[in-house]
């Protein structure tokens, strides 16, 4: 059973179409990156999945239950793009509240584990209002993980984090994959998505315009060879052409120092898919 499945999912706000019929599936334990320009419908999709927004058409299921139903909400964790926690709570109290709301029986051990996972052990008694934005974002991720959800929706989870914080989140995502948690990661940081996600889905104007593994979506851009005469680009060559090119160069008396098979990067795939669209 898929952790998340959307079929023909559409959402209209008056005359504006936020989603125009999206089909999307996240398998058990899969980490899927959701990409797209501002206004592409990424957050709307996630909000429908979480039961925050009602779909105009189509269906969405979380762990086999209709999105928005108590069973679906019980199976997911969610970190919104724009979120705030009550400033008067400390980190431990906030997680305790969400344990009660989620029906988690993890108790103090679960809270301690989650705070450790996001690097906030030392800040467990610190009030939210005294935390930096980055700390609040990491606390938000810990909150989303309360109750051991099967599926995690993370909407721009690293937008307020510094490079160290981002690496912490990356490691956290890898740990979640190891534990078999499915993740739908909505992010603008392509390098981050490329590093951790099994698959990417690119939305543009409410429609899926590209989907698949990065290497599946990538197109060859030639082979680059470093020789004693300089760097030479064979732009129509593919990976399987590399041995032949090297052999020919050596036979021609050139010294070969390095060979690189070039492919389009995720950034290029993305820009091509959204055709330069921006918000």
């Amino acid at each position: 059973m898929a952790a998340f499945r959307a079929q023909g999912l559409a959402k209209r706000y008056g005359n504006v179409t936020a989603l125009g019929g999206v089909d999307l599936e996240v398998a058990e334990g899969e980490l899927v990156g959701l990409l797209g320009p501002n206004g592409a419908g990424k957050s709307t999709l996630v909000k429908i999945a979480c039961g925050l927004v009602r779909a105009s058409a189509g269906t969405a299921e979380v762990a086999g239950a209709p999105a928005g139903s108590p069973a679906a909400r019980g199976a997911l964790g969610y970190l919104a793009e724009l979120f705030r926690f009550p400033g008067w709570y400390n980190a431990d109290e906030l997680l305790a509240l969400h344990q009660r709301l989620a029906g988690s029986e993890g108790g103090e051990a679960e809270r301690a584990e989650l705070l450790d996972l996001v690097g906030l052990t030392e800040a467990r008694s610190r009030k939210v209002e005294d935390m930096s934005k980055g700390m609040q974002q990491r606390l938000g991720i810990a909150q989303a993980l309360v109750g051991r959800p099967r599926l995690l929706f993370l909407d721009e989870p690293t937008s307020a984090l510094d490079p160290v914080g981002r690496r912490t989140v990356r490691r956290l995502l890898e740990e979640l994959r190891r534990r078999g948690v499915s993740v739908l990661l909505n992010s603008h940081l392509l390098s981050e998505v490329e590093l951790v996600c099994d698959r990417v889905v690119i939305l543009s104007k409410g429609l899926v315009v590209a989907a698949g593994r990065t290497e599946e979506l990538a197109r060859p851009r030639g082979v680059e060879v470093d020789t004693d005469a300089g760097t030479r680009l064979f732009d129509s060559a593919r990976r399987e052409d590399a041995p032949r090119i090297v052999a020919e160069l050596v036979a021609a008396g050139e010294k070969v120092y390095g060979v690189r098979v070039l492919e389009t990067t995720l950034e290029e795939i993305y820009l091509e898919a959204v055709e330069g669209e921006t918000s």
Binding site: L52, R54, A80, R84
Partner: protein, 291 residues
Amino acid sequence: MRGAVIVAGYAVQESVRRRVFPVVLVLTLAFLGLYSFGVYKAYQSIDPGSTESVGNGDQLAIVDTQVLFSATLFGLSIFAVLFLGTVLAIFLTHAVVRGDAERGLLQPLVVRPVGRAALLAGRFGAAALVCAVYVVLVYAISLFVMHWVTGWWPDQIVVPALELAAAVAVIVAISLFGSIFLSAIANGIAIFMVFGAGLVAGLLGQIGEALNSDSLNTIANVSSWALPFEALYQDALNGITSETAGFTKVALSLGPFGGAQPAGAWLWPYVVAYLAALGAVGLWAFNRKDL
């Protein structure tokens, strides 16, 4: 039910730990201090053992000065208690749905399995409880201050306190309902205006009663049904001198807090039905709301 209790616990914590609480505490202490001082000084300026005679010969009427003084000033305190309770109710509830959603506070709670009905019920229960306890406490303190200074007890003590508690619960419900549709500031302003409109309608009713004006009485009656906190307030005011008779009652009815009318036996069932209807429509709208 369990979800509503969890949300209510969260909301009670919030009401006590937010910065609004010290403000309400200071306002309350200021009111009680000024009220106590005012009652004490004003009572010194009258002769409490005396009765005022109005008229002459066979038409002589007696006004009990102590009752007139005490009931009028206690009526003032009931108004102040309701006002402070309303301020608290609005602060606790004006931003619960749309305001909190716009700030990103609501979404992490709503995605949890407890659901929207529990969230609304818990929020209502907590705010109504906090406000009810608050008004009953301040009502009781002002009553004891009055008794300590003048030795007077109102004709009814418990029922007016319960009616004030119910009145703030109605304001909590209206404010929560408004928060589904309006942004925080707009809702806060709207509820204060609704509260003011209710009180003005009540005053019009009192004037209508004195002038025997059907039009003013109709306006007051319709307002009391539409905004039952006003009917509860009027009934509470009426209750404190419900057994006072004679010219003292007439003199009281001419004052700003003495002309209140009893609301009748249907008041309580109507208030319950009103809250239930408001809750049902509010939940329907909340369930359809995109966050």
